[in-house]
C-alpha cells in the first residue's frame, strides 16, 4: 500500500495527497493506493502541479498495530508527526488518536524520499 507525499511550495508544510486530488496536511486523511499503477499515475500528475507540491514521492504504508495504517519508514512517520525534540511542534501538536497511532507505530524501511534526494544530489 502506498501514499503520496510532498512539501507544500508556499510554506514547506508536509502534505499528502488526499481524496479527489486534494492535498491535505494530516496523514490520517491521505489517500491510500493498493494499485501500483494508480499510485505512479498520481505521482506523475503531482509532478506537473508546479505551484502546489515540491518533490512529490510515494511512500510505503502498512497496517499499524494499534489500528489504521502508518508509514513503514521511521523518517516518514517523523515527517507525519514533527520533530521528537519538540513534541509541541509539527502536526503531532494537534494530538488525538491518529497522532497516537503514528507515535506508537513500528516498522522500518529506507525512505524513498531520502534515497531520491541523495541520488539527485
Amino acid at each position: 500500500m502506498k501514499a503520496l507525499t510532498a512539501n507544500r511550495l508556499d510554506d514547506g508544510e508536509v502534505i499528502f495527497l488526499g481524496q479527489a486530488g486534494r492535498w491535505v496536511e494530516r496523514f490520517a486523511e491521505a489517500a491510500l493506493f493498493d494499485d501500483e499503477d494508480a499510485a505512479m499515475a498520481a505521482e506523475a500528475r503531482a509532478k506537473t502541479q508546479r505551484t502546489l507540491a515540491v518533490d512529490p514521492y510515494l511512500i510505503d504504508v502498512a497496517p499499524a498495530e494499534g489500528g489504521g495504517v502508518a508509514p513503514v519508514s521511521y523518517r516518514e512517520r517523523l515527517r507525519a508527526l514533527g520533530p521528537t525534540n519538540h513534541r509541541e511542534h509539527g502536526k503531532q501538536a494537534e494530538g488525538g488518536e491518529a497522532v497516537e497511532a503514528l507515535l506508537h507505530a513500528t516498522g522500518a524501511a529506507r525512505s524513498k524520499g531520502r534515497v531520491d534526494l541523495i541520488r539527485r544530489k
Binding site: N7, L9, D10, D11, G12, E13, V14, R50, T51, V54, D55, V72, S73, Y74, R75, L78, R79, G82, P83, T84, N85, H86, H89, G90, G107, A108, A109, R110, S111, G113, R114, L117, I118, K121
Partner: protein, 551 residues
C-alpha cells in the same frame, strides 16, 4: 566590529529585491523547482523535512546586541520562537515559509546581516577564533583577516561555482579553537624566525564521507601575500576538482589524489603567475583593520574582591567560574563561555527570549560583543571579574548559566533526522540521553574535558570524526543505529577518530558512553584527559568494555 558602508548596503538591498522577485516568480509557477532551487540555496533557504530552513551567516561568529535582537524578532515573527546555532557559527531557523523569506532577508539587511555564503558551491562563511581580541595567546586579530576574506570572496565571480563548497578557518592564537585542520583551507597565523607575521597554510582537510586532517602546504606565507595565495589554491582546485562526482569533488580529494607535494607545486606555480597583483592593497587591509580597533579596557587589578567573595559564598557561581571562564589578556577581565547545553535541551538551540537576554547582558556587562563558537555555544569575550556575580545571576534567570563548558555534556549535535532531509538518524535525542546520563555536575567535573560530537549522517555536520568520542547515525534497513569512534581531535593535535566496533542501537548509546567513561576513570593517570588516556592505552580496553556482552 565591521559596519557595512553605503556600497555594502546597496548590494544587500539589490540582493533582497532580486530574491523577492525570484520567489514571487516561483510561487506564481513561472519558474520550476529545478530552476529555483539553486537560487534559494544561494540565499540560504533549504527545504527540509517539516518546512523551509533559513541559514543566516554570522561571519567569524561575531554579533552585536542589535543583530541578536533582530534574530530574536525573526524567531518570534517568522519561526517558532527559537533558533539553532551551527558548527559553522551560523544560525538556522527551522520553520520558515517561502512566502516570508524575502521579508526576513530585508530584516537582516537592516542590521548588516544576510544569508549569503551559507549554501552552494562557493566560499562559505569564514570561521575564526571566538576569543579574538580577548585571548592572551593571540598574535593578531583573526577577525581582520576573516573580514578581508569575506569581502574578497563575496560574489567573487571566479569562485562562485566551485566543484563543491569551500570552507576557510583562521586561527591567530597558539591554541586552535577553530578546528583549523579540518577545513578546505586552514590558516594558522605564526611569527617566522625573523619575527614577521605569516600563515601556516593547511589545505585539504575535511570531514564528511572521507575525513582528512589537512596537510601543511606552506610553512610561512608572508601575511601580505595571503590573497594571491588563496587565489592560486582556488584556481588549482577550480581547474582539477572532480565536478562529475559530488562525493569526490571536495579539495581534500584532489590534494589526496595528487599528493600534498604535487598539489603544492601546482599552487606555487600558479602563485608565481598571479604575483603581488593578486594581493590586497595595504590601504584596504588598514581600512578593514580600522573596524576592529582594540577595545579601551580599564586598568584593573588581577584580583576582584566581589568575584572572590561570590566564589566562596555561592557554589553555583563557583562551579560556573571553574568551568566557563577563560583567562583574558587584560587583568581584571575574563572570557565567558555561555554553554547552550542545558541538560535535556537541544544542543545549540536558543530561544528568542534568551537571545534578547544575552543582548541585554552583553550591553550591560560585556562591551556589546557576542561570539558564536563552532561548538554551538556563545561567548562574551570581555567581562570584568567585578561584574561576573551579577552577570551570572542574570544568566541563571534565563537558563543560560549551564556550568558545563568543555565537559561531557557540552556536546555538538547536528539537527539530524528531526529536521534534516539528508539525515539517516536523529542526533539531538542521543545528545540529550548522554547529557542526562551525566547530569550530575560533580561527576561531570570529575571526568573533565571530554568532547562528544554527534552527526546524523556521513556528511558529518556534527564533526563526529574529530570528537574525543564521535557518534555517527547510520541507517540499518530503516532503523537508527550509531557507530562510535574514539580518539578524534579538532585541536592543535588534530586527528580522525577510530571506529570502536559494530554500530549500536540508539537506546544503548548513552550506556556505552558510560562504559567508556568508566574505563577512562579506571585507567587514567594524574592530569590525563579522556583523549590522553585513550592515546596511551589504545582502543582495546574501551572496546572490551562496550562489547563485553557480545563475547
Amino acid at each position: 566590529m565591521y559596519r557595512y558602508d553605503a556600497i555594502d548596503a546597496e548590494m544587500l538591498a539589490d540582493r533582497v529585491g532580486e530574491f523577492r522577485e525570484q520567489a514571487a516568480r516561483r510561487l506564481a509557477g513561472e519558474i520550476t523547482e529545478d530552476q529555483f532551487k539553486p537560487i534559494r540555496l544561494m540565499n540560504g533557504l533549504y527545504l527540509q523535512l517539516h518546512a523551509y530552513m533559513l541559514r543566516i551567516a554570522i561571519p567569524y561568529g561575531s554579533l552585536n546586541p542589535t543583530q541578536l535582537r533582530k534574530l530574536a524578532e525573526i524567531g518570534r515573527l517568522y519561526d517558532k520562537g527559537y533558533g539553532h546555532l551551527t558548527t559553522r557559527t551560523n544560525i538556522q531557523f527551522h520553520w520558515i515559509k517561502l512566502r516570508d523569506a524575502a521579508d526576513i532577508l530585508q530584516h537582516l539587511a537592516s542590521v548588516d546581516m544576510h544569508a549569503i555564503q551559507t549554501s552552494g558551491n562557493c566560499i562559505r562563511n569564514v570561521t575564526a577564533d571566538p576569543y579574538a581580541g580577548a585571548a592572551a595567546d593571540e598574535l593578531d586579530d583573526p577577525r581582520v583577516w576573516s573580514e578581508a576574506i569575506r569581502q574578497w570572496s563575496t560574489f567573487h565571480p571566479e569562485f562562485s561555482f566551485l566543484p563543491r563548497k569551500f570552507k576557510i578557518a583562521v586561527n591567530a592564537a597558539v591554541v586552535d579553537r577553530v578546528a583549523t585542520r579540518t577545513h578546505d583551507i586552514g590558516l594558522y597565523l605564526r611569527r617566522g624566525e625573523d619575527g614577521s607575521l605569516g600563515f601556516e597554510v593547511y589545505v585539504g582537510g575535511g570531514l564528511g564521507r572521507t575525513p582528512y586532517i589537512g596537510p601543511l602546504i606552506r610553512q610561512h606565507l608572508p601575511a601580505a601575500r595571503l590573497f594571491s595565495y588563496l587565489q592560486a589554491i582556488l584556481r588549482v582546485y577550480n581547474r582539477h576538482g572532480k565536478r562529475d562526482n559530488p562525493n569526490k569533488a571536495r579539495i581534500k580529494i584532489l590534494v589526496a589524489t595528487l599528493g600534498a607535494e604535487e598539489f603544492t607545486r601546482q599552487v606555487e606555480a600558479e602563485w608565481e603567475k598571479i604575483g603581488p597583483a593578486g594581493d590586497l592593497p595595504d590601504t584596504e587591509l588598514a581600512r578593514i583593520r580600522g573596524a576592529f580597533t582594540p577595545v579601551a579596557f580599564e586598568t584593573l587589578p588581577a584580583r576582584s574582591a566581589a568575584f572572590d567573595e561570590a566564589r566562596t559564598k555561592n557554589p553555583a557561581f563557583a562551579r560556573f567560574a571553574r568551568n566557563n571562564l577563560r583567562p583574558h589578556k587584560k587583568s581584571g577581565y575574563a572570557i565567558v563561555e555561555l554553554a547552550l547545553k542545558a541538560i535535556g535541551e537541544t544542543p545549540g538551540d536558543i530561544t528568542a527570549e534568551q537571545m534578547e537576554a544575552v543582548a541585554d547582558i552583553a550591553e550591560r556587562w560585556g562591551l556589546s560583543d557576542i561570539r558564536v563558537t563552532h561548538e554551538q555555544n556563545l561567548v562574551l569575550p570581555h567581562v570584568k571579574l567585578d561584574d561576573l556575580p551579577q552577570m551570572h545571576a542574570a544568566l541563571a534567570q534565563t537558563g543560560l548559566a549551564s556550568p558545563n563548558s568543555n565537559l561531557i555534556s557540552d556536546i555538538i549535535a547536528c539537527p539530524g533526522l528531526d529536521y534534516c532531509a539528508l539525515a539517516n538518524a536523529r542526533a539531538i535525542n542521543i545528545a540529550q540521553d548522554i547529557a542526562e546520563t551525566f547530569g550530575d555536575p560533580d561527576r561531570a567535573e570529575t571526568i573533565g574535558e571530554l568532547k562528544i560530537k554527534i552527526s546524523g549522517c556521513i556528511n558529518a555536520c556534527g564533526h563526529h570524526h574529530v570528537g574525543h568520542i564521535g557518534i555517527l547515525g547510520v541507517d540499518k534497513k530503516g532503523e537508527e543505529f550509531y557507530q562510535l569512534t574514539l580518539g578524534g581531535s579538532a585541536a592543535e593535535d588534530a586527528e580522525v577518530g577510530k571506529i570502536l566496533g559494530p554500530a549500536l542501537p540508539g537506546p544503548k548509546v548513552a550506556s556505552a558512553i558510560d562504559q567508556l567513561v568508566e574505563v577512562y576513570l579506571r585507567e587514567r593517570n594524574d592530569g590525563e584527559r579522556f583523549l590522553d588516556t585513550y592515546r596511551r592505552v589504545g582502543l582495546t580496553p574501551f572496546k572490551e568494555a562496550v562489547y563485553a556482552d557480545a563475547h
